[in-house]
């Protein structure tokens, strides 16, 4: 993961780097995003003029594909690295701004359903991944990291858990590589399966939010289906992210009990430190719109700003996915992750179908 061609998500999770150093990478993200939008428009117009039957490939997929081609065929110079790593910032900015497109009642209804499903999903995923880790004789802390990563929110959760349970750098690199590789695969498999099942936007959005691990990939997988599905996927994923502190705290207490991690002295401070603060921004934005702070045109502008921020995120998702680097991390964690992800995807699909029957999504 430390190669010049792979942007370390560890770095991107921490702090914003110095302003000048990010300019080349951000320009690259923006360039890819703009190219993706242009490709979508040009191909659609060309197909219409020549009366071709051509599938509508959205800018989301183009942005990811262009990024993937660049990162897997070229060596990205170091000067672009810190700018590319800002994709996490654009993702969170996009999510906060997306709050403007949610009526508070929708947040409460869908967020409530999501939270209920998230609790079931997390419990079953943790049990499943722990059992698979034992079956494949993975190191116990690597199993913990994979379980946290696949049950809650991918890379962020692994990084949060790594510090809390004193895991090795090597273990966290394994877990991150497995989660990222599987996230990349889910971008193509989730929409294809949903189309074959004729899922509606809300059901699919919930499934993508519950089943895809990393927030950026969950957002992209949702947006690849439809704009409405993308919104729901972000909401469901945000509900899942909100649980990060509780699960990491549970693991920290367990490993401290085994004498292999520091004891957690103040649990409330621990929970607050691990809580993803952008969720509060998302809720605040939704509240502001609920109190009619903005008129209709302004809400549309905020929604469009959110889309621009996501466009840069999608370019970053492609750019930081380097299959060659990931393959160096070994097969066993990947196999455990893949098996777990397939089972979790089936499980979350079942949960969403059940919720659809109960609440009529």
């Amino acid at each position: 993961m430390a190669s010049s061609t792979t942007v370390s998500p560890v770095e991107s999770e921490q702090r914003i780097p110095n302003a000048l150093s990010i300019v080349p990478g951000v320009l690259l993200l923006a360039g890819i995003g703009y190219a993706a939008k242009t490709l979508e428009r040009t191909i659609n117009t060309y197909a219409k003029v020549h009366q071709w039957t051509f599938p509508n490939i959205e800018y989301v997929l183009w942005a990811i594909l262009i990024g993937l081609v660049i990162s897997n065929t070229l060596t990205i110079p170091k000067v672009f690295e810190s700018g590319i790593a800002t994709y996490e910032f654009w993702l969170k900015l996009g999510i906060v701004l997306l709050g403007a497109r949610f009526v508070l009642a929708d947040v409460l209804k869908l967020g409530g359903i999501s939270l209920a499903l998230v609790v079931v999903e997390i419990t079953l995923s943790l049990i499943l991944m722990t059992a698979l880790g034992k079956l494949f004789k993975l190191k116990p802390k690597l199993t913990s990291l994979l379980a946290v990563g696949s049950s809650i929110c991918g890379v962020s959760a692994i990084i949060a858990a790594k510090g809390a349970i004193d895991a090795d750098d090597e273990d966290s690199s394994f877990a991150i590589a497995a989660i990222l590789a599987l996230g990349a695969l889910s971008l193509f498999t989730f929409p294809a399966i949903a189309h074959s099942l004729h899922m509606n936007d809300v059901s699919y959005g919930l499934w993508a939010g519950l089943g895809v691990d990393n927030t950026a990939e969950a957002t992209a997988a949702g947006a690849l289906y439809s704009d409405a599905a993308g919104k729901v996927a972000v909401l469901a994923k945000t509900a899942r992210n909100a649980m990060i502190g509780f699960v990491v705290l549970g693991y920290a207490i367990y490993w401290a009990g085994q004498g292999q991690a520091k004891t957690v002295t103040n649990k409330a401070v621990f929970l607050w430190n691990k809580f993803p603060k952008f969720i509060l921004g998302f809720l605040a934005m939704s509240l502001l719109v609920g109190f009619h702070t903005f008129d209709k045109g302004q809400v549309a502008s905020l929604g469009n700003l959110s889309k621009w921020a996501f466009l840069l995120t999608f370019a970053g998702v492609g750019l930081r996915t380097n299959f060659r680097e990931m393959s160096k991390q070994g097969l066993r964690p990947f196999v455990v992750g893949a098996l777990g992800e397939i089972l979790i995807a089936c499980l979350t699909l079942g949960l969403v179908v059940g919720a659809n029957r109960i609440w009529g999504l």
Binding site: S12, E13, Q14, R15, I16, E88, F89, K92, L93, I95, V96, L97, A100, P276, K277, F278, L280, G281, A284, M285, L288, T293, F294, G297, Q298, A300, S301, L302, N304, L305, K307, W308
Partner: protein, 42 residues
């Protein structure tokens, strides 16, 4: 000593990515509200 203090102050002021995202989003919302950003196209 003075360097230590200033670096501590800088560390104290450094904000997490999440917090920056919320601040920038709120600044953008203010810019939209007060028509500094009039209409953002897509």
């Amino acid at each position: 000593m003075a360097t230590d203090k200033s670096s501590n102050a800088a560390k104290g002021l450094s904000l997490s990515l999440d917090t920056w995202a919320v601040i920038v989003a709120l600044l953008l919302a203010l810019a939209v509200k007060f028509s500094i950003l009039k209409s953002v196209p897509w």
